[in-house]
Every structure is written in structure tokens, then in C-alpha cells.
């Protein structure tokens, strides 16, 4: 059975007034329509919402008008805004319901509710430790500095510096012996 439509704007308008998107709608009947969509029954919800908003005509016409209205960008924006506003209010209803659920061990969803609560408030903590190691060797300048210090220590101990190796091509300049033929 379809719920009775209502058209009391004063009862559904939020205490702080409508949001920006709701205000952009053409009139209060449109705003009421958007608001009513959230309370509408699953079956015949559009028709119920448009009647609730105070639109009057036969059902077929109202159905067409409602279908057009929900496709209107302004209505879509207003629905999104209203959904966000209502979502913020949900904990007021959700928390007592959850409390009842976790206090009732016989309830079929009791275990799931407890598990969900624990996961949310006492989550299993996983940590990743990243160790960054600088594998760069010392700079050329630092190596040169240490080498110089080592050479200095060796020299102080009376050890002459090693003779550096000379790289090059060896050329034999010994005059060749005169051949027997000449």
C-alpha cells in the first residue's frame, strides 16, 4: 500500500534553511519534490513524491512531469546536496540501531556487527619499515685526502713514496749488428 503523500513544507525544511542547490530550484514545490524523493516508497516513488510536493493532475501526467523533473540538472544537483545533508544525520539513527544489534547475541547479524565495529575502531595494524641506505662511496676528494695522509704518515716513518709506474711503449734503440752480406 502506497504511503499517504504529505505536502507540509514547514515540516521538512531544514532548520538552517535550504542549501544552495535547493534554493536554485524554481519554487518550493520543486524543493518539496526533491525532499520527498528521499522518503518515497520503493514502488511508485516518483508519483508519490510529486503528489507529496503538491502537484495536481492525473497520475499519467504527474508521472511524465516527475520523470522530466528528475532528469533536470538543477534537480540532480539538489538531490546530491540533500543526500549529503541527510547522510550527515544518519549516525543519529545508525548508532542506536547498531547498539541494539550488538547487544542482541541472538540477532543473525550480531557477529557481523561486532566484527565490523572492531575492524573500524581496533583495526589490525600493518606497518612497513623502509630503510634507506646510502650506498654511495666516498668522494674522489675524500679518497685523495686519505691517500695523502697515508703517504704523509709513511714519509714521516722514513718510507719514500712509491715510484709511480710509467706506461708507454718500449723502443729498442740498440744499433743493429751489420749483416754478414754487407
Amino acid at each position: 500500500m502506497m504511503a499517504e503523500p504529505r505536502a507540509d513544507l514547514a515540516q521538512i525544511e531544514p532548520e538552517g534553511g535550504w542549501g544552495e542547490k535547493m534554493k536554485l530550484l524554481p519554487n518550493d514545490r520543486w524543493r518539496l519534490f526533491v525532499s520527498a524523493l528521499f522518503d518515497a516508497p520503493r514502488k511508485g516513488g516518483l508519483l508519490w513524491a510529486i503528489k507529496t510536493a503538491g502537484f495536481v493532475s492525473n497520475d499519467a501526467s504527474l508521472q511524465v512531469v516527475a520523470s522530466r523533473m528528475v532528469r533536470d540538472e538543477r534537480v540532480a544537483d539538489a538531490i546530491e546536496e540533500e543526500a549529503r545533508r541527510r547522510f550527515r544525520l544518519l549516525p543519529v539513527f545508525a548508532i542506536p540501531a547498531l547498539e541494539r544489534l550488538i547487544k542482541d547475541p541472538e540477532h543473525k547479524d550480531h557477529g557481523r556487527a561486532v566484527s565490523m565495529l572492531l575492524e573500524r575502531f581496533l583495526p589490525v595494524q600493518t606497518g612497513v619499515t623502509v630503510t634507506v641506505q646510502d650506498s654511495r662511496g666516498p668522494s674522489e676528494a675524500r679518497i685523495e685526502q686519505v691517500l695523502a695522509r697515508i703517504a704523509e704518515l709513511a714519509a714521516r716513518a722514513g718510507i719514500p713514496p712509491p715510484v709511480p709506474a710509467i706506461e708507454g711503449e718500449v723502443v729498442d734503440v740498440t744499433p743493429s749488428a751489420p749483416s754478414a752480406a754487407s
Binding site: 662511496g137 695522509r149 697515508i150
Partner: protein, 122 residues
């Protein structure tokens, strides 16, 4: 290039490092203040260095480092970044350009190199 220089040049870097570490460790062993556990630990590590090429006889001919060489070692170790267990930087320096200085300061290193060659040929 003299025969001795050539022998040193041909000596593998890993064994060059072992020679230096043995001389350095022996200096540590000569320190009277070192504890028994540390002494035993050093001796065990020294013997772990031996193999078919670097034999115990070679280990025996190496004389402890003097103060100058020890300071040179410390200088080389200062190149190793903190926490770098590979000690790659000091290894490269000690077995490379600095090695000649150690051989000149501690002639027992050259004797050890020569003995390695003789034992291998025997």
C-alpha cells in the same frame, strides 16, 4: 719493474687485504689490555683466513703493524660510510694505491707474499 714489485702487483686484492688485516689484528693481540674473549675471537678469525693459498705458515711470518700503519688503517676505515659492513671504500684504498706503503713499512708482508708463491709452486 723489479721482481718484488711484480710479485706484489700480481698478488690478488683479497689476499692483500687479508695480509693487512692479519698484521692489524696481531697489533691488537699485542695489546696487554685486551680481554681473553676478544683475544680468542681475533685468533679464531685469523685462522679462518687461511686456505690452500694463504696457509698458516704465511700467517706466522706476518709481523704486527706499527703505530704508523695502524694510523694509516684508521684513515682508510674512515672512508667507509657508517653501517657499511662491506667496507668497500677502505678495501679499495688499502688493496690499491695504499698497499705499497704498507709493504715498505712492514717488510714481513713482502715475505708473506713471497712465501705464498713458494708454497703454491711446491
Amino acid at each position: 719493474m723489479s721482481a718484488a714489485t711484480e710479485m706484489v702487483e700480481m698478488f690478488p686484492p683479497g689476499y692483500r687485504h687479508a695480509l693487512l688485516m692479519v698484521a692489524y689484528a696481531k697489533r691488537g693481540l699485542a695489546d696487554a689490555s685486551i680481554g681473553d674473549h676478544a683475544r680468542l675471537d681475533i685468533l679464531e678469525k685469523l685462522h679462518e683466513l687461511t686456505d690452500q693459498f694463504f696457509r698458516e705458515r704465511v700467517l706466522a711470518v706476518i709481523e704486527p703493524m706499527g703505530e704508523t700503519e695502524a694510523e694509516m688503517m684508521e684513515q682508510a676505515f674512515s672512508l667507509d660510510p657508517a653501517g657499511d659492513k662491506s667496507r668497500r671504500a677502505s678495501f679499495d684504498l688499502l688493496t690499491g694505491e695504499a698497499f705499497d706503503h704498507f709493504v715498505r713499512l712492514n717488510p714481513s708482508l713482502l715475505r708473506a707474499i713471497r712465501l705464498c708463491g713458494e708454497l703454491r709452486r711446491a
